[in-house]
Assembly symmetry: D3
Amino acid sequence: MFSVTVRDHMLIAHSLRGEVFGPAQRLHGATYVVDATFRRATLDADGIVVDIGHAADLLRSVLSELGYRNLDDEAELAEMNTTTEALARVVADRLAGALGDAAQDLDGLVVTLHESHVAWASYERQL
Amino acid sequence: MFSVTVRDHMLIAHSLRGEVFGPAQRLHGATYVVDATFRRATLDADGIVVDIGHAADLLRSVLSELGYRNLDDEAELAEMNTTTEALARVVADRLAGALGDAAQDLDGLVVTLHESHVAWASYERQL
Amino acid sequence: MFSVTVRDHMLIAHSLRGEVFGPAQRLHGATYVVDATFRRATLDADGIVVDIGHAADLLRSVLSELGYRNLDDEAELAEMNTTTEALARVVADRLAGALGDAAQDLDGLVVTLHESHVAWASYERQL
Amino acid sequence: MFSVTVRDHMLIAHSLRGEVFGPAQRLHGATYVVDATFRRATLDADGIVVDIGHAADLLRSVLSELGYRNLDDEAELAEMNTTTEALARVVADRLAGALGDAAQDLDGLVVTLHESHVAWASYERQL
Amino acid sequence: MFSVTVRDHMLIAHSLRGEVFGPAQRLHGATYVVDATFRRATLDADGIVVDIGHAADLLRSVLSELGYRNLDDEAELAEMNTTTEALARVVADRLAGALGDAAQDLDGLVVTLHESHVAWASYERQL
Amino acid sequence: MFSVTVRDHMLIAHSLRGEVFGPAQRLHGATYVVDATFRRATLDADGIVVDIGHAADLLRSVLSELGYRNLDDEAELAEMNTTTEALARVVADRLAGALGDAAQDLDGLVVTLHESHVAWASYERQL
């Protein structure tokens, strides 16, 4: 199995609902350094998993719809707690959608959001 | 599949038994930067894999029983060579025990011990 | 010259005032991974620049007054743009104050705030 | 499952064939920081996955046959595009060969080539 | 003193002239992860050292004139050995030129080129 | 001013004397990831600060005299507390000695010992 990973980041504000979150129930924010990993059993005719420049552009596009925003105000995220692990799925699912037909050649996708040097979360899905 | 990882570290002394270890048969030591990854198929009602603060506390607690010690003197480790990979299992198994009932909601655990910028070892187990 | 550095982090929300900031004029947030470096020409009787545990506690204390907050609502920061470089000075100055008499033995302080894997800012001052 | 990883690097020149590669069709080069991960279900009598010094020597040996070279001139690579993902397989397969009989005790091998701080590729195979 | 640093990278081929370089006399290549640090004694009216987006664009522009090339073929570099330390000066000097009048507000510039996880070089100059 | 840095590491056991060290008064150990930075105002005829391979060999040699040992048993270190900052000076001074006549061409030396992902210490000296 092959994989290719590209890294980018986004800066967001948000708050979390639930006593378990303690001070993170207050409005605060985070830098998420985001790794998107594309998996594929065999390489294509060019010898690649995915055009790495195209993959980076797709990730940039998905993150730019979330970045520099207060996620508490985003209608599409209103029903959920925007925890690191939940956002990893949002990014992965949007990235899968953005891949379009190219997703058919891929086997899976992993998105990891690093929220600090000591904590990160991932979501892995098939394509 | 979702996962959440927390990072901490411990400082220990030890020696290794066996010719394969060369100079590491002498008493020496290591900083282990430890990553504990908790895996779960679906998020809970709060939208999390595990309370990240609680996970960090559990890891801190497990590492504090090993850190600032000479592992050669620890009765519970007397039967084993405390290699990086073997210690990864010790930390994972103790962490699984410390999780208590919370382990039932999780699917797996991976513990990685980084012994330097050029070498690390992991142990992965189910919960 | 000797130095000792400790690393910690904080999660904040804020917005920046001025056209130069583009989309960062919107309410967003950041994780700042914060490095505090203490400089000293000679070591003390214990062979240290500063008690590293005490230094880490002081940094933790300073960051806990800023973290998990919307900096736009902090009265003490109302007059300023909370850019990464300006916050580096805020942290450094508060840390210098928190050091109390211990600052007399030190020669300088550098605080670096990493806002992502591709951008960071520092403020260096004497003690 | 246990794993042990060692890290090394190589410096190479190459060019890539195909319009998808844009400016990377020109002769350029890369530093590949290479992680080789050895997987094993149970530890051996010494409590290890593999002798980490031996593993590092094998990786060094494999990389030294590729490093400080223009890969466009290497006869064994003439049929392929030396993309990061394709080179990950070359390194993994050569490493598997270099392991010799020791491969029988191992369950798998993952080789990751980091081409920059924002892009990397992996190849995973059984042993 | 304040500073702001932005990170980017370039991929180049080159060879080095002189017996001291051993196998690096052959045509090979490198990824240089490049950090550009801008220093300034006081912040401007917006509370910044430099517009970080503008700084990143300038660095990108300077690196794009070197990246995806064989430096042995670049007329402007023909007189020199393109060692990591020498290239750090090339990048710093071109960046200083690209800053134009904005350089007058700055006090200094440091450019660091990371050639691997175990080696890097810097050049520091005034502005 | 130019600089070149090489990174290596050592694994040691030790204990620290003094109440300020708390649990670190017990025999424990550390991995020190060591960065040695060589400074020079102008490059030599080959376009380098120092032969990076030679610099790496010297650092390896200095660290091999300390690594895989219990520093409490080293006669040359008996008079001192082997704190991270004090060991940074030991490494720097031994490295300066090992440079021999080559030190005359250099302006300074900085040695940084990383004891974990959240703490490190440096010693800077002239040559």
